[in-house]
Amino acid sequence: MEPILKIEKLEKSFGSLKVLKGIDLEVYPGEVVCIIGASGSGKSTLLRCINLLEEADSGNVWFEGKDLMDLSTNLNKLRERIGMVFQSFNLFANKNALDNCTMAPMSVKHLSRQKAEELAVKHLTTVGLQDFIHADSRRLSGGQKQRVAIARALCMEPDMMLFDEPTSALDPEIVGEVLDVMKGLAGEGMTMVVVTHEMAFAKEVSDRVVFMDGGVILEQGSPAEVFGHPQEARTKEFLSRYLEEK
């Protein structure tokens, strides 16, 4: 099977700080890949390089066979098919939940308002917000905001979704409602790359766990392998600290 996403020798630095030091990663259709690692290990930067919110210095990223680093590639067309969910939600502050979801389908895919709204209602229902369709995005709780953000990404009907620490800004009590939505998505066969600190989620849902440290992928494998029998000393150290905290 062809990988949907292929990353090769990706490097990125901010000023003199080298954040990514040659990343190679392949993601196959329908796979759920969780990227774990300490803060500052380059997880989020890697994710942002995948849809070019950050521009990598060197290396290659192929998505569905197209080279993202090639200047002639229409990035906007590719981004339509890569949904992204942010740590800080980034809902459009001047719109309500429905308009947040309809804006991109209407202006990018040129759907009619009626079609876009049907789509938005469908996906808002999927994330359990059918009662908040007309709610002002600023008045929603964190968990609701993040679920609207997921619905907004789903409205573009992406082939792959990127999650950048989607639950890190949430109350521990409402993390569950967002994770449940993500589990549902994974169950439907969505290709997902998830940067997360939720080890239980990674263990339960992911097909593959990637451990990053210091800008490189130190170890990857099935959850059973990485959590059960970590090979690298650094992975053991990281995981044991997490287990202590729990």
Binding site: E55, L71, N76, E80, F86, S88, N90, F92, N94, S107
Partner: protein
């Protein structure tokens, strides 16, 4: 207003003090010459009645004061704090208040009305300061009206035009060349950025009076090179037109900076979210960032309008018939400077206060908190 009413109704700690002040003011007003419309006059029964009330209150206040001085620490136990005494003091206090209101109506309000009537009907410029102000305001009313109309038009139109131009200017300012651009686009973005930066620096670094003169004479000079006669030029290139263009171009620079601040205050995540959904950077700007930035900038735009009302006064140097030019014209007729400039000051103050209230109402409606008027630029 509500606070004032509450002060007189509820706050009795200062009852004797405010009563005494009002009594003193009453006496001062009674001693002044009664106007033609006065119903109190200088020796009517009503006047003596009011005087008697104030007199009784004054005596009582003096006694209270004396008792307070002698019984500084145990004033509360003296006869002055007996309920009956307090009741008498309170009713007397209300009567003094009523006497004060009657006197103000008679001497100040009716006095002003009769002064206005007299001044307006006067054959020549009266000697009194206020009378002369009213006389000249009435005689020069058409000039003041034309001046206010021009000032308001210039400020309104100027700010509106400037807002549109500022949107273009700020677009030039914030467009950054990106990797995907070809050389031509890159060149235009660079040139646009440099142009807007120079424009803003020049406009903000020179006085509007100089700008007005340069624009007026530059336009005049350009048209003179064509085959038009001076009369035709004056018809096409009026001082009003030059003034409006000056204010518009001037405000553009300031509003562009206001909008840039507004745009920069929008979290970069808004842009990233829009881009991640496949929107182009122009779509993201137009649909997500600009609406929020403009909304946040509304108080500052209102302030710019108020500043334009005041600063358009420098346009009188190019003979644009604004309020200041009208004022100067009236000065030229009567040769009474102080009085006429006071009229101009009051008129400007009314205009700006009214606009300020309007802006606050709009800002409240749009759910953006209004700030106070900043200093003029």
């Amino acid at each position: 207003m509500r606070k004032l009413v509450d002060f007189f109704r509820k706050d009795r700690r200062y009852g004797y003090l405010t009563g005494a002040v009002m009594t003193a003011l009453n006496v001062w007003m009674w001693r002044s010459e009664p106007s033609r419309l006065s119903f109190l006059g200088s020796d009517s029964v009503l006047l003596y009645l009011l005087a008697a009330v104030c007199g009784v209150f004054a005596v009582m206040a003096l006694i209270a004061g004396a008792v307070k001085l002698t019984h500084w620490r145990n004033y509360g136990e003296t006869a002055m704090k007996k309920p009956a005494m307090l009741k008498v003091a309170r009713y007397l206090y209300f009567l003094v208040l009523a006497a004060f209101l009657v006197t103000v109506t008679d001497r100040i309000l009716l006095g002003f009305i009769s002064l206005t009537e007299e001044s307006v009907a006067s054959e020549s410029n009266p000697q009194g300061f206020l009378a002369s102000m009213i006389y000249m305001f009435w005689k020069g009313r058409s000039m003041f009206a034309l001046g206010v109309w021009t000032t308001v038009r210039i400020a309104l139109l100027g700010t509106a035009i400037a807002f549109v131009l500022a949107l273009l200017m700020v677009t030039l300012r914030i467009l950054k060349p990106v990797r995907q651009d070809n050389d031509l686009v890159r060149f235009f973005k660079k040139v646009g950025g440099i142009f807007s930066r120079i424009y803003i620096t020049v406009i903000r670094g020179t006085p509007m009076m100089v700008q007005a003169l340069i624009i007026y004479y530059a336009g005049f000079g350009l048209l003179k090179n064509s085959s038009m006669t001076i009369t035709e030029i004056n018809y096409v290139w009026s001082a009003f037109m030059a003034g409006l263009i000056t204010v518009s171009l001037n405000s553009t620079a300031y509003l562009a900076e206001v909008l840039r601040g507004g745009i920069e205050s929008i979290d970069s995540g808004q842009m990233e979210a829009a881009r991640s959904l496949g929107m182009t950077s122009w779509q993201a700007m137009r649909k997500v960032v600009f609406p929020q930035a403009v909304k946040n900038s509304i108080p500052a735009i209102g302030n710019e309008f108020i500043i334009n009302i005041k600063d358009s006064s420098v346009l009188s140097v190019i003979a644009c018939f604004d309020l200041m030019f009208g004022t100067t014209s009236v000065v030229g007729i009567y040769y009474r400077q102080l009085e006429v400039y006071c009229i101009a000051a009051i008129t400007y103050l009314i205009l700006t206060c009214f606009s300020s209230l309007l802006m606050k109402a709009i800002a409240k409606r749009m759910d953006t908190p209004a700030k106070d008027i900043p200093s003029s630029n």
